[in-house]
Amino acid sequence: MKRRVSYADFIDILNGLLEKEQKLIYYPLNNGHLSNTSVNKDLKNFSLLNIRTIEPIKLLFFPVKDSLVDKIELKQRIGVGIKWCDIQAIKVLDKIFLSDYVDESYKNYREQTLIITTDCINPQQNCFCSLVGGKPYVEQKDGISDLNISFVDDNNLILESFSLTGDKFLQEYFNNFDEPTKTEELQRDSNREVANKKIFNHNIEFLKEENEKYYKTLKHTYEFDKIWDSASEKCVQCGGCNFICPSCYCFLIREASESFENQFRDKVWDVCHFTGYARVAGGANPRKYKYQRFRNRYQCKFVYRYENFGFYACTGCGRCIDVCPAKIDIRKVIRSLVLAKGEEVIVKK
């Protein structure tokens, strides 16, 4: 189902949801951050025009600290303006938290959240979803999204539902609007093409290769340890890239019960770059050197999860590049490995 809506009408209707129905709405602010619903009574400073939010969307489903004991009654929530890179990350989190043993807390957050995605109309220098098989907009086949917002122009949006929940939402709140015309859809497609070109040009110095090439490049061989060593030289192990990464899912169980009758524990984000991350009692540490931990993070994204799921756990959002105090660029690290391995570098013009 599709509807054409003006930007102003869209915000009005969301504001109505916020006021009348008291739904929790998480949305992108015009300063690039993700809104904090608890302090917003209206959609102040709402913007769909930026790239993904500075904060990763995993925060909605996998909070920094989450009680494992208390069962939370969740209100229905809406995440608006989520980009392809975060959708792909939710796919990774779903695989981890919903397969085999189901993490009830994560499942609860996911089920109570309507996901409204949006096109990226202006990808920035550090965006590289195109290098990991992605694109700056979401389609139905990408999954996860209930509803997508794309742009005819700065003032007109196309809303397209991708799920039954999305259908229902459109019917309920946007039924009075018209379907987009063919011309408007073509205009939307050409906007998407512009974004595609932009992201391609930002990454022209890096590789545009087959997906599994990264896998082969990063698959472990000991003779390249020295490259990992030099790539990680500037890394200060602050863990910023882990925390800001939309698909990093590691956590620690913090046991803090008062007694066996009064149990308490929570899960808290953890960081594989930290020295103690893999250390076992007695002090043995399977990754005691910095370069090993640094390498492990890349291999986790491009080798291990690829072997598990068939897709990369890196989604090309570029947050790790933005956040790194040592200015380490994941694309450059991979390129240095490709060059060292003497593999063909194909740049598609």
């Binding site: 494992l68 009830e104 291990y304």
Partner: protein, 273 residues
């Protein structure tokens, strides 16, 4: 069901194996039985202190209680060792994949243990003893640092009587006259063992360094990587393949292990520390 919340167990018996190793016998507080497959592990909670993974050392045929043999080595085990009979601890599990006992049927089973690494192997051994006629031969090679560090001292006389089970033991060092068996690291026991390599599996558990050299030794003896079973231990935290701590290559030790063949691990960086 909340997968992160433990069930309460009462400590009903504590055996002091060595100055820093104790075996705890635990019984479910709710009167339920506790079933596991040999080689699977549990997450044991000392409330308010922490949670850590251990492999039961008792027979899976015994479901009223479980035994865990634990070395005092870190913050959590330090407190655990101070607990008394009657105290309550938490248990989640069992988790992971244990020893594929069915695959051992009809074969010679060479078990190599080092130090407290004999704990999970005791559970395996008790399982094999239960069905001893189904295996061609069982050989246990056990090494400890000193005679005082040998665990389950009281069980060896019993095991030595089992027909079809051969036992070789070594200690790294000892005072003169203290030990009348082999002196040296556990791998030197393998020089004394004659096995039919084609029809044999090796099962190894011990500290990382011991696992490493034992694996190398077994390869040297012409064992194929698929014939070598290793009981890997990392800092499994959630036990459910989620928290990431025990990742080894694309495996989660808690979910895909803790028992692996060397075939699965040989191409992964730093399998042993």
């Amino acid at each position: 069901m909340n997968i992160y919340i433990p069930k309460n167990f009462k400590i009903i018996k504590i055996i002091e194996e060595t100055p820093n190793i104790k075996t705890f016998t635990l019984k479910p507080l709710n009167g339920e039985k506790f079933s596991f497959q040999t080689g699977q592990f549990i997450e044991l909670t000392v409330y308010g202190v922490g949670e850590a993974p251990f492999t039961p050392s008792s027979s899976p045929y015994k479901t009223e209680t479980i035994d865990v043999t634990i070395m005092r080595v870190g913050r959590m085990t330090e407190v655990l060792h101070s607990l008394r009979e009657g105290d309550i601890v938490g248990i989640r599990g069992p988790y992971g994949k244990g020893y594929p006992v069915e695959k051992f049927v009809g074969k010679e089973v060479l078990i190599i243990g080092g130090g407290v690494g004999l704990a999970p192997l005791r559970s395996l051994l008790l399982t094999l003893i239960e069905r001893i006629n189904e295996f061609k031969r069982i050989i246990l090679c056990y090494g400890a640092r000193t005679p005082q560090d040998v665990v389950y001292k009281y069980l060896f006389p019993e095991w030595k009587k089992v027909k079809g089970l051969e036992i070789l033991r070594s200690v790294d060092k000892c005072k003169p006259g203290e030990w009348d068996e082999t002196i040296g690291v556990v791998t030197c026991l393998l020089d004394k063992v004659q096995v039919d390599i084609k029809n044999c599996v090796a099962v190894v558990c011990g500290p990382p360094i011991m696992m490493k050299f034992t694996t190398l030794k077994l390869i040297d003896m012409n064992f194929s990587p698929a014939q070598i079973y290793l009981s890997m231990e990392r800092n499994m935290s959630c036990g459910l393949g989620k928290c990431g701590h025990c990742q080894i290559g694309s495996y989660f030790i808690c979910k895909d292990g803790p028992v692996f063949t060397w075939e699965q691990l040989k191409d992964i960086p730093e399998p042993f520390e």
